[in-house]
């Protein structure tokens, strides 16, 4: 049993690809938590999808024991944090469970916007920062320059150059963790207060919470209450990950681990919530809890209407593990029965959509993502609109407001002009520009979130050759002059293609969208007119010409089965398209609004 003063809780802050997982692997090896043989590469990223995308979605905690140079054995708890803007609330809760953070910066890249955002969050939580400069084994590494950036930002002169790949310098990092990060401060004889910083669903144990015990102790048999919901459970198991689950008699003040209490649903283990002892309840919860609210909505529809119940089941299963995913049934005249789903952001949406298709074998149509608009009707009613097709007619709207973000872009100086142009095109307002070092700048803009959803990130990457990085946070709702753009295919409005666009851009978008749809809708047996309209005014028109020819095939040698199978395949291909009226529309058409290009 480790004394409280020998516990060190820390996390790692890093940009994607800067080597967080590799460093974590080395730490686990050096502390003999995992042998090299057992080490799958990047052990902490367990979900297949995470591994493929090289990002970490779910935070986890791993306990190591390290015998330091002072001869003492320390308990180190590494809390893994998600690295994407969509999950910034989860990041903040993970940070709240730590006393220190390793800031990893790629020696060949320097600090990126996402790292900066998380770093500032860590400083807000008063964490001790240990700057680690990684990839010093690479020929293009520039340790001095990156050290200067770090010093400029946080005034720290001591940096730890390492190669997580080869293991060089990692021992020194472990010593720094022990020597500079303070031990947890909680009071062991106070009533229990434990912070939930993550959870997942286990089909045998139910919802499992990752917790940091701030005050007191928790052990199996204890009756616990969730502060935000008041729900009560009995603890059946506590333990920690080393890195596989090891159960303990108790989790004590300052310790990090998991808790099982026959909770049926991850909604019972809300991230940020405080667990208290039912019989000896603490009076105050831990600070910082908020209910996570989705920011981005889209419609998910099965291509084949028969799959609707399967889609519901799949969403319910995913929700077991992901309390931030919300959905409710909706009906579209064009697409039939589906769900309006809310996500934390675009990456979250992408991940869910991919898991539905990959793990549940569903063929889906995703409508273009939309933000939540707030509007006031002429009769004084306040409405929240998460679906463009539900926007009332112009006569009924007194005012529309849209969510704005503060966007931070870190970029080499030579791209500043291009980025300013881009932000201007995206209705941005310039706020600030700072120099990180003589060649890298931090730009701050206020932008509508809807513009970021469109294609801002792609454009940012392409106009800076991938050098710029972006972070943003939602700050306010602002009034805007927005209109609904409708798309009519074969003269019938297709609700799922409607979009809410700024009035000044509507005509341009309408033309581009009609053009894009013409490209993605295949030729049919008849002409297909496409129209874009605002209200009753048609602003653009394109026509998909009728199909001229398919293969005039011979039917040689009686291989009729083959011929029939070819037609079956042709039909199968069409099943992935949605039949709207008599027009077959491919899945990608519904995302076309995001692909509208400014350049042509």
């Amino acid at each position: 049993m480790t004394e409280q003063d020998k516990i060190r809780n820390f996390c790692i802050i890093a940009h994607i690809d800067h080597g967080k997982s590799t460093l974590a692997d080395r730490l686990l090896e050096l502390t003999n938590t995992v042998s090299e043989r057992e080490m799958k590469e990047q052990l902490l990223d367990s979900m297949e999808l995470e591994r493929e995308r090289g990002i970490t979605i779910k935070a986890k905690a791993t306990r190591m024991h390290y015998k330091a140079k002072d001869g003492e054995v320390y308990q180190l708890n590494l809390i893994d944090t998600p690295g994407h803007v969509d999950f910034s609330y989860e990041v903040s809760r993970s940070l709240a469970a730590c006393e220190g953070a390793l800031l990893i910066v790629d020696a060949t890249q320097g600090i990126e916007a996402q790292t900066l955002a998380n770093l500032y969050q860590a400083l807000d939580h008063d964490l001790v920062i240990i700057p680690v400069i990684n990839k010093i084994d690479l020929p293009s590494a520039d340790v001095d320059e990156v050290s200067r950036e770090i010093e400029e930002l946080i005034g720290l002169e001591t940096v730890y150059p390492v190669s997580a790949k080869t293991g060089k310098g990692v021992e020194a990092v472990l010593e720094a963790i022990v020597n500079t990060i303070p031990a947890p401060k909680g009071i062991s004889h106070d009533p229990l207060r434990a912070l939930i910083f993550d959870s997942y669903f286990d089909s045998y144990k139910g919802a499992v919470a990752y917790i940091r015990v701030v005050d007191g102790t928790v052990k199996p048999g204890d009756k616990i209450t969730m502060f935000s919901t008041g729900k009560t459970f009995e603890v059946t198991e506590v333990g920690t990950m080393m890195p596989s689950q090891v159960s303990f008699e108790s989790l004590k003040t300052g310790e990090v681990g998991y808790l099982v209490a026959v909770m049926k649903d991850v909604k019972d283990t809300q991230v940020g919530d405080t667990i208290i002892n039912t019989l000896n309840p603490a009076k105050e919860p831990l600070p910082g809890y908020k209910k996570v609210k989705p920011m981005v909505y889209c419609g998910l529809y099965p291509v084949d209407n028969d799959q609707f119940p399967d889609l519901r089941t799949a969403l319910e299963k995913l929700q077991l593990n992901d309390a931030s995913l919300v959905f409710e049934p909706e009906t579209s005249a064009a697409l039939g029965f589906g769900f309006r789903c809310g996500f934390l952001g675009l990456l979250h949406l992408d991940i869910i959509q991919e898991r539905l298709e990959r793990e549940y074998n569903l063929s889906l149509i995703t409508t273009a993502p939309s933000v939540i608009y707030k509007l006031i009707t002429t009769s004084g009613l306040e409405l929240e609109i998460d679906n463009p097709s539900k926007l009332p007619s112009v006569q009924e709207i007194a005012e529309i407001r849209e969510p704005m973000v503060k966007a931070t872009v870190i970029t080499p100086e030579r791209y500043v002009g291009a980025i300013m142009q881009l932000c201007q095109d995206k209705r941005g307002t310039f706020k600030n520009m700072e120099y990180l070092n003589p060649t890298r700048t931090i730009l701050t803009y206020i932008l509508p979130l809807s513009e970021i959803l469109m294609d801002f990130f792609d454009k940012l990457k392409s106009s800076t050759q991938g050098y710029a990085s972006l972070d943003y946070e939602i700050i306010a709702y602002e009034k805007a002059d927005l209109v609904k753009l409708d798309i009519l295919i074969s003269s019938k409005p297709v609700d799922a293609l409607s979009a809410i666009i700024h009035r000044d851009k509507a005509a341009f978008y309408g033309r581009q969208l009609a053009k894009k749809l013409k490209e993605v809708i295949p030729e049919q047996m008849f002409e297909v007119p496409i129209q874009a309209a605002i209200g009753s005014k048609v602003i653009a028109r394109e026509t998909v010409k009728a199909l001229r020819k398919d293969v005039l095939s011979k039917c040689y040698g009686g291989d009729i089965s083959r011929k029939r199978k070819l037609l079956e395949k042709q039909k199968e291909g069409k099943k992935r398209m949605k039949l709207i009226g008599k027009v077959e529309i491919p899945q990608e058409a519904f995302m076309a609004v995001l692909k509208v290009d400014n350049d042509d």
Partner: protein, 363 residues
């Protein structure tokens, strides 16, 4: 006994044409004789009453006349007599004696792989004959006594144009032939042409070539009876009609397909395996499929709509297409893609170039 069409596949040719992906190759030494021995064994495995015979390839006329005649005799003895007995020949591979031997053996219909009467087109295609030789063979066949001659023509080959195809069509209709198959080039992934990656004819021009064929052929007494097939009166190919009516047929040889009773099955494609397995008295069937009522219905629609006379309710178990697929049929009729002819329903002229797309609506 089952009445069936009989197809025999001879997978040999002198040289592979650029557009071809059929099962054929230049024969190895001794391969033809071994293959024909194997065929004899296969022939003895089936007892059917042959209605028609069709010997196809490859280029069947690559087989030496004595061996070919022996094969035909065997087929006649086992399944004959045939109402119609066709063989495919290539202009560059036959002479008067060869043709005479075929006629005496009971062959009464020739299908000649002419493809074009334009020499530069023939060269592009990698054919071994020129247009003069093609014409000579046709006249020679008539002289020898063949009363039923088909020529195959291909349109839409890369590098050709509407003028060259018009020349070919006008030459064709002036010749003493009874049947013309007018095929649009299909770019097959297994062909040399596919690998060459040439600029393909534009869809508009391709369709124009097809319609020009319809016009010239019909105006000269070759009546369309199937999407790609045109015949003088009573000279339709009975063997192919068996396929299009989805009736029974026996396919012999490597890669050949049979439909007998409720099954359709396909022989192994490898000539070597075909020969060894038959020698060892073992199985040569690679694929077999039970034709359920549902599959037969789909196939009958697919095949029936290829025919000019259209799809007859009899082919659909005495139910009309409108009864079976009311919305689709009504829609396609309204769009002018299907039309009614008495009790039958057929594709309109406008629908022919997009036949697959139209038919797949019923799948």
């Amino acid at each position: 006994m089952i009445k069936a069409g009989v197809y025999v596949h001879l997978p040999f040719c002198l040289k592979k044409c650029t557009y071809c992906d059929f099962l054929s190759h230049p024969p190895k030494k001794g391969e033809i004789a071994a293959y024909l021995d194997a065929l004899e064994i296969e022939i003895e495995r089936f007892k059917v009453e042959g209605l028609t015979l069709f010997i196809g390839g490859g280029t069947p006329s690559v087989v030496p006349p004595a061996l070919l005649v022996e094969l035909i005799h065997k087929l006649q003895q086992t399944y004959g007599p045939f109402l119609e007995a066709s063989i495919e020949i290539n202009p560059a591979t036959v002479d008067r004696d060869y043709l005479q031997a075929l006629l005496f053996s009971g062959i009464n219909r020739l299908s000649i792989g002419v493809q074009s009467f334009d020499d530069s087109t023939l060269q592009l295609m990698g054919r071994l004959h020129n247009s003069r030789e093609a014409k000579e063979v046709i006249y020679l066949a008539r002289e020898v006594g063949f009363k039923n001659i088909n020529i195959d023509l291909i349109y839409g080959y890369p590098g050709t144009d509407i003028i060259s195809i018009e020349k070919t069509l006008k030459t064709a209709v002036a010749l003493p032939v009874d049947h013309i198959s007018y095929y649009g080039l299909q770019l097959e992934p297994g062909s040399e042409l596919f690998r060459k990656n040439l600029l393909q004819i534009a869809d508009e021009e391709f369709v124009e070539m097809y319609y020009l064929g319809l016009e010239i052929l019909e105006a000269n007494g070759f009546f369309q009876y199937e999407v790609s097939n045109f015949a003088k009166e009573n000279k339709e190919c009975n063997h192919n009609l068996i396929y299009w009516h989805n009736k029974e047929y026996l396919g012999l040889g490597a890669g050949a397909v049979s439909r007998l009773g409720r099954r359709r099955f396909k022989n192994i494609s490898s000539t070597d395996l075909y020969i060894t397995n038959l020698k060892n008295n073992s199985r040569i069937i690679a694929d077999s499929e039970k034709l359920t009522a549902d599959l037969l219905l789909k196939e009958n629609i697919m095949l029936g709509l290829r025919l000019k006379k259209g799809l007859n309710p009899k082919q659909l178990g005495d139910r009309s297409l409108e009864e079976l697929y009311p919305t689709e049929t009504a829609f396609l009729l309204k769009e002018g893609l299907l039309e009614k002819v008495g009790p039958n329903i057929r594709l309109t002229k406008k629908a022919l170039p997009i036949m697959n797309t139209v038919i797949s609506r019923f799948f």
